[in-house]
């Protein structure tokens, strides 16, 4: 087994990034104009990278499958973005953010990358404010913060429940400025379907114009993949319908190692599914756990009463309720990390306490918060004996200010009013910590090919803390990649323009053509969605919140079968040379069907519980932590980076051993 070189700089962790920047090769401005960079994806990571690289003088081509960069999936992020500003003076610091992120990730992230992330986090907020991002403010005019799970400080900046939207529109505006100047050429409704490698270096991509169906060759001196996460391998997730793994999977098949595919975040607070026609799941932001209390009834009769509608949740008194997070984890209560909260909800529902018809829902209740805020507000307004109704109204107003759009979203979907009755929530697939393996410079194992944002594996270990993905995306794009890419490109200044007539481009285009042509001509009997749903079911049942060896082996076999069926029996209507959403989906699902198998293989190989990856074989057997997940640092303290060998089942494992010099390795405890 080879050793992966993470290129982590030497020296004390707090000096590494500064020293690294000082030692990096630079490209002079005149030469930057001769260098092309392709950025696939215009979410927070790709959008910020494209804008920054163009500002620096590189010629940028950016690609997105939506009709505008502004619609990348980052737009949907709700709750907030972390930064170690310590504006609240509650003891926050770069070190603490670093520590929380490594601990939250259950000690499966690379220390040096996480430290850098914490270090640049403060600049992100400065940058966004300068761009006109309207973050929430306090009455004094300064920026407001909230708390997220897994931490004891308030470091999350937000814009109501639309933080991702506002940050993405900030990056989009920075892109627009460069598009207007001709420094970025934007290719909307274009999907990258292959990477072109020439003499071992990434030299371009094959993209399909989704309006005309035409295949195009694009060359560049470096290719950045910022294509987001692969949560849709589960079919149902909180990701957008179009979110997919194709860009990442295509570079994997061309030599980029895929790291820790099994690390998936199942988010505890999502709206439960309502039927078989369900096309996606909707997140209710983690920020709600600041003010919402999670519970199920204590007694089975009450569970039945609630399910049948005979009793209302409001009818149960406090001691008839089981606030199970507060009970099990008194120190963190409702703000335990996501993986812990999700498993606890599953535990209650598996034990029969689920509160909806399917038995897969728990309550998220705002009544206490409404009362508390109402009283505070009444006091401020000088109302000394407010009535209950007045308190409630004032409290509701505060809650509306904080979470108005989420409450509206909930009500529109479920037809229930969450100001009056608790929300019903259940865990759902949300984020993928795994992804393309990258070194400290964010370069993949293919020279000249980089990965940023959710597409890479880098900063979150086995579990991501809330409000850290937005931070990572913007850190990668605004502050890391623009520096580190220069190191590689400084060797490219004499290369000159790269011809798209090279045989490698011709061959890559033919590969794509053949693949799509095959899909169209199978003319089988079942729709693409049929196969995607089958895959999703196997993933959720066997590779979901709780995993064991037998189930994982079975998953591998089942996925392989579904994949074989797919290639024999899928029905893709229409032709290649037109706007054809079914063909787009088919190509993506084909890749998910391979990724899914590697995912299960990785989960099987990792016989420990860590973060979002819970192996039933690996739990604490006694003591205070009895029943909690048990990490195995002796045998599994590494990043699993998989090399493609022609078949997911035969993927070759490479290990990057993780070193913890600045943080002591401990079992996580949120008790």
């Amino acid at each position: 087994m080879s050793v992966l070189d993470s290129k982590t700089p030497s020296g004390p962790i707090k000096d590494q990034w500064t020293n690294h920047k000082n030692n990096i090769n630079l490209v002079n401005p005149a030469n930057k104009r001769l260098i092309d960079i392709i950025v696939v994806g215009t979410g927070l990571a790709g959008g910020s990278a494209a804008a920054s690289l163009a500002e620096m003088g590189y010629k940028v081509k950016a690609f997105a499958f939506q009709d505008s960069p502004r619609r990348a999936h980052s737009i949907a992020a709700q709750g907030g973005i972390n930064a170690a500003k310590n504006y609240q003076n509650d003891g926050d610091s770069v070190y603490r953010l670093f520590y929380d992120t490594v601990k939250g990730g259950d000690y499966r992230a690379r220390e040096s990358n996480v430290y850098r992330l914490a270090e640049v986090s403060a600049s992100i907020i400065d940058q966004c404010v300068a761009q006109g991002v309207p973050f929430a403010r306090e009455y004094g005019g300064l920026l407001d913060n909230r708390s997220f799970g897994g931490v004891l400080v308030s470091r999350t900046f937000y814009a109501k429940g639309q933080t991702g939207q506002q940050l993405l529109l900030g990056a989009y505006s920075a892109m627009n400025r460069q598009i207007g100047k001709g420094k970025i050429k934007m290719y909307n409704r274009h999907e990258m379907l292959e990477l072109v490698v020439v003499d071992g270096k990434a030299r371009g991509i094959i993209a399909r114009d989704m309006v005309t169906g035409k295949l195009e060759r694009h060359s560049a001196h470096a290719v950045v993949i910022a294509s987001g996460g692969y949560g849709n391998v589960f079919f149902l997730s909180t990701n957008a319908m179009g979110s997919n793994a194709t860009a990442a999977w295509r570079i994997h098949k061309k030599g980029a190692y895929f790291a820790n595919p099994c690390y998936t975040q199942i988010h505890p607070t999502c709206i439960p599914r309502s039927g078989d026609y369900q096309s996606k799941l909707t997140l209710m932001s983690e920020s709600l756990r600041n003010d919402g209390r999670i519970w199920v009834p204590k007694n089975m009769e009450d569970v039945e009463g609630i399910r049948s509608g005979k009793i209302k949740p409001k009818d149960l008194s406090v001691d008839q309720r089981d606030y199970y997070l507060e009970r099990r984890y008194p120190a963190f209560g409702n703000l335990v990390p996501r993986d812990v909260a999700s498993r606890a909800a599953k535990e209650r529902c598996d034990a029969g306490y689920g509160v909806n018809k399917t038995g897969e829902a728990v309550f998220l209740d705002f009544a206490s918060a409404i009362e508390r805020y109402g009283k505070e507000k009444a006091y401020v307004l000088g109302m000394h004996n407010p009535t209950d109704a007045e308190v409630k109204d004032l409290g509701k107003k505060v809650i509306e200010d904080k979470y108005g759009n989420l409450f509206q979203m909930y009500q529109k979907i479920t037809d229930d009013n969450p100001y009056e009755t608790p929300m019903m929530i259940y865990p759902a697939v949300h984020y993928t910590m795994g992804g393309i393996w990258v070194d400290y410079n964010l370069m993949t194992t293919i020279p000249g090919c980089y990965a940023a944002g959710e597409a890479n594996f880098s900063d979150h270990g086995a579990n991501r803390l809330g409000a850290s993905a937005l931070m990572q995306g913007l850190a990668d794009g605004y502050f890391v990649l623009p520096y580190t890419i220069g190191d590689y490109l400084s060797h490219e200044i004499r290369t000159g323009e790269i011809s798209t007539d090279l045989p490698e481009f011709v061959a890559a285009e033919k590969e794509v053509y053949d693949r799509l042509n095959t899909l169209i001509n199978i003319k089988g009997t079942k729709s693409v969605d049929h196969f995607h749903k089958e895959l999703g079911k196997v993933m959720w049942d066997n590779v979901g919140m709780s995993r064991n060896a037998a189930g994982l082996k079975e998953a591998g076999e089942k996925i392989r079968k579904i994949r074989d069926e797919f290639w024999k029996d899928v029905l893709v209507p229409g032709t290649m040379n037109e706007f054809n959403p079914e063909l787009e989906k088919a190509a993506r699902v084909a890749d998910f069907l391979e990724l899914g198998e590697l995912f299960a293989k990785d989960a099987l190989e990792r016989n420990e519980s860590c973060g979002g990856h819970f192996r039933e074989e690996s739990v604490e057997l006694d003591g205070e932590q009895k029943g909690e997940a048990k990490r195995d640092d002796v045998n599994y303290r590494y990043v699993a980076a998989w090399e493609w060998t022609g078949d997911p089942a035969q993927a070759k494992l490479h290990k990057e051993e993780l070193e913890f010099k600045d943080i002591e390795l401990k079992q996580r405890s949120y008790k």
């Binding site: 009709d67 619609r71 737009i75 920075a174 309006v211 957008a240 096309s279």
Partner: protein, 252 residues
């Protein structure tokens, strides 16, 4: 309440930008009121695929009302009969058993049809290229974020304007196909923030100029846009933009 609605759909079908389009009729049954409108179209498409017909093309992505990708003109209303929602957030409980539903694309000269219900809203992007930004480099060497306090009210109002999702319902609804609500949302956001004030003049002139070039119509204050806007973008913003435009053109 129904798990079993029967519906008649009249859907605009158009092969591509150059072809003529027309309304086709489809029958659906077993539609649950808990479905979203787009899930109902998924059911239609599954049915079409299984009977060897071409599925209906429509734009969508987030399916939670934030990306602005979904469009659809439903029974004569942009984003359908519900208020304050996008098409993807519209639920079938707004309809009843036996209904006939007309589904058409967002129509405007500046939004050419690509296929069926999918239109090209590139004109919106081009307006943003003309001035929808603050000219600050992403170097990170900016001043500390709390150096300039901003009154909460201004920040909140800027935020409200900034929640526009660029869907185009305002244009599709307007009898003049005016894009004033969309453009004014961006202009107003920046005009309320100290960071945006510096380039206020060029911004409004350039964005309005581009808006005219794209072939959007004039605003005659009918207010239909505000009614159909899924994000509650207020007509106030148009007033702010008019003021900014007046200031900019008289100083020029």
């Amino acid at each position: 309440m129904s798990e079993n609605m029967k519906l008649t759909l009249k859907v605009w079908r158009q092969k591509d930008a150059k072809s003529q389009g027309k309304l086709e009729t489809y029958q659906l049954d077993k539609i649950s009121e808990h479905m979203s409108f787009l899930e109902m179209l998924d059911v239609l498409n599954e049915q079409l695929i299984n009977t060897g017909e071409e599925p209906v093309a429509f734009d969508h992505d987030c399916r939670e009302g934030i990306c602005g990708m979904c469009s659809l003109y439903i029974n004569g209303e942009a984003h359908g009969p519900d208020r304050g929602v996008t098409t993807c957030q519209l639920h079938m409980r707004m309809f009843k058993d036996g209904d006939t539903i007309y589904i058409e694309p967002f129509r405007s000269k500046a939004f050419p049809v690509i296929k069926d219900l999918v239109v090209d809203r590139g004109s919106f992007d081009r307006i943003q290229h003309a001035g929808g930004f603050v000219s600050v480099n992403t170097s990170g060497n900016t001043i500390d974020a709390n150096t300039i306090p901003i009154p909460k009210e201004d920040a909140d109002n800027a935020f409200d304007a900034a929640t526009c999702i660029g869907c185009g319902a305002c244009v599709a609804t307007c009898k003049n196909s005016s894009a004033m609500l969309f453009v004014s949302a961006k202009v107003a956001q920046f005009s309320l923030l100290p960071q945006g004030k510096i380039e206020a003049k060029d911004r409004v002139l350039n964005m309005v100029h581009q808006m005219d070039l794209e072939g959007f119509g004039n605003c005659t204050n009918t207010g239909a846009c505000e009614v159909e806007c899924p994000k509650g973008i207020s007509l106030e913003n148009i007033a702010i933009m008019n003021k900014e435009y007046f200031k900019a053109s008289t100083k020029a």
